[in-house]
Amino acid sequence: MANSIVSLRDVGKIYDSGTAALAGLDLDIREGEFVSLLGPSGCGKSTALRIVAGLSEPTSGAVEWPAGRAAKTAVGDIGFVFQEPTLMPWATVAGNVELPLSLAHADAEAAGRAVSSILDHVGLADFAASYPRELSGGMKMRVSIARALVTEPSLLLMDEPFAALDEISRFKLNNELLSLWQTLRRTVVFVTHSVFESVFLSQRIVVMTSRPGRIFAEVPIDAPYPRDECFRTSAAYAGYCRKVADVLAAAMGAQP
C-alpha cells in the first residue's frame, strides 16, 4: 500500500466559541489516492480539510507527516478549493487563476497558456477579463476550481467544489478531474454531499458522524478506473450508492 502523506491521529478541534467540531478523528491520506469525505452539514469536514492542509491546528491529537519531511511544507504543492469561491475581487478571472503560478514566479508566457487552457476546460474562456462580481455563483466556483488545478498540485483538497454546478457541467468536470488524477496520479481529498459523486470518483469514502465529527465508517469503492458513463449506469455503481447512502444514514443516526 502507498505511503501516507499525512495522518490525523485522534484529532480534536474545539473552536474558541466553544463548538467542538472534531473529536477523535483518525484519518490517513495515502499517496496518490482519491478519497472522499462525506458527512452531515456542520460535522467538521471543512475543518478536517483545513487541518490536513496545515491551515488550522487541532486542539488535541496530532497531525503526523511522514518522517524526513517537515510539517506542512512537507506536502509539496497543495491545491485547495474552498467551500466559498474566495476570489480576489480586484483581479480579473485570469488574474485570479494565474495567482498560484505568478506567486511561484512561473514563466509568464507559459502561465498565460496554462491559464487559458484551464479556463477553457471550466468553460470560462470568454470571461477571462471579467471581475468576480460580474460572475454567477457557479462561475465563481469554477474560477476557484481552475485556480486549484492550474498548478497540477500533488495534493488537491476540494471542499464541495461542484455543489453550485448544474449536473452536466458537474459530470463533465467529474470526468476531467478523474482523467487528470489518473494521468498525474496526484492525491485528492474531496468533500462532497453527493453520494453519487463520491462513489463515481473515489477509491475510498470516509463517512463522518455528525458534530463533533469523527469517522463512522470507510467504504472502499473497488471499481476499476477509468470510470465512465458506463460505470455510472452500472449495477455495481447503484449498489455502491445504496450502500454509501445507508452508511451515511446510519452515521447521522449514530450520534444525536
Partner: protein, 261 residues
C-alpha cells in the same frame, strides 16, 4: 444616467450661485461693513487685484501641501504595513504615532526649528498633521483582509512581500484611499499651520501669511480672497483623490461600483 450627471453638476452650481447671491444680498440689506463680512464683489475684486501676490502664495502653500501629503501617504502606509507585519512593533510604537497626532504643531515648531533646517522643519510640521489618518485607515484595511485569501496565499507559500503587495495592499485600497482623502485636506491645513509656526514670512510666503497679515491689517476682503483660494485648492485636491479612488475601485469595490438593477 444622463439626468443624474446633469443633477450632479447643475445643482451644485445653482446652489453655489444661490449662496453667493444670498451672501451679496445679506451684505447689502443688513449693510454689513466690509471689515465684518465683505461682499462677494469685494472679495472677487481682491482676488483679481492682488492676483499676483495671492497666486504666488497659493503656489507656495500648494507645493508644501503636496510634499506633506506625499510624505504622509508614504509614511502612513509604510508604518501601517510595518505595524501589521510585526505586532511587537505595533504595540511598542503605535502610542507614539498617537502622540505625534495630538502634539500641537505650534508647540513643537520651535523645537523643530532648533534641530532641523527650516525647510525640513516646515515639511515635518505639514507631514505630522496629515500622517495619522493614513496610518489609521491603512491599519484597518490591512486587518480586514479575507482570512480565506490569507490562507490561500499561505498555501501557495507566498513570501511575506507577495502577501503584502498582492493581497494586503490591494484589499486595503478602499480604506487607504479614504485615508488619503482625509489626509488631502489635512495636508493643506498642515501646510498652513506649518507656515504659521515655522515658515518664512514676508515675500515668497504662502497663503497662511497672507491670511494672518490681511487679518492684522484689517484687509478683510483680501483675507477672504486668500481663504477662498485655500478652499478651492482643498476642493481640487479632494476631487483629484476622489477621481483616483473611482478609477482604481470602479471595477470591483462596492463603494465605487455603480448600482446596477
Amino acid at each position: 444616467m444622463k439626468e443624474s450627471g446633469l443633477v450632479r453638476t447643475v445643482l451644485p452650481v445653482l446652489l453655489l450661485a444661490g449662496a453667493i447671491a444670498a451672501w451679496d444680498m445679506a451684505v447689502r440689506v443688513f449693510a454689513i461693513p466690509p471689515y465684518v463680512l465683505p461682499g462677494p464683489g469685494l472679495v472677487a475684486g481682491a482676488l483679481i487685484g492682488d492676483r499676483g501676490l495671492l497666486f504666488d502664495s497659493l503656489v507656495v502653500t500648494l507645493t508644501l501641501a503636496i510634499e506633506g501629503f506625499a510624505l504622509a501617504a508614504i509614511g502612513g502606509i509604510f508604518w501601517a504595513v510595518v505595524f501589521n507585519q510585526w505586532r511587537v512593533v505595533e504595540y511598542s510604537f503605535y502610542p507614539y504615532a498617537v502622540v505625534l497626532q495630538v502634539t500641537p504643531v505650534v508647540a513643537i515648531a520651535p523645537l523643530l526649528l532648533i534641530y532641523l533646517p527650516q525647510h525640513l522643519a516646515v515639511l515635518a510640521c505639514a507631514w505630522i498633521v496629515a500622517f495619522f489618518p493614513v496610518l489609521a485607515n491603512t491599519t484597518l484595511g490591512l486587518r480586514s483582509v479575507d482570512r480565506n485569501l490569507v490562507a490561500l496565499f499561505a498555501l501557495y507559500k507566498a513570501s511575506r512581500w507577495q502577501v503584502l503587495v498582492r493581497l494586503m495592499l490591494p484589499a486595503a485600497l478602499p480604506q487607504i484611499l479614504a485615508g488619503l482623502r482625509i489626509a488631502g485636506g489635512l495636508s493643506l491645513i498642515g501646510a498652513v499651520v506649518a507656515e504659521i509656526a515655522a515658515g518664512s514670512a514676508g515675500a515668497g510666503s504662502g497663503l497662511a501669511y497672507r491670511i494672518a497679515e490681511s487679518g492684522y491689517r484689517l484687509n478683510i476682503p483680501r483675507m477672504f480672497a486668500a481663504l477662498l483660494l485655500l478652499s478651492l485648492a482643498g476642493v481640487a485636491i479632494f476631487a483629484v483623490l476622489s477621481a483616483l479612488s473611482h478609477l482604481v475601485l470602479r471595477r470591483w469595490h462596492e463603494s465605487e461600483v455603480k448600482e446596477e438593477r
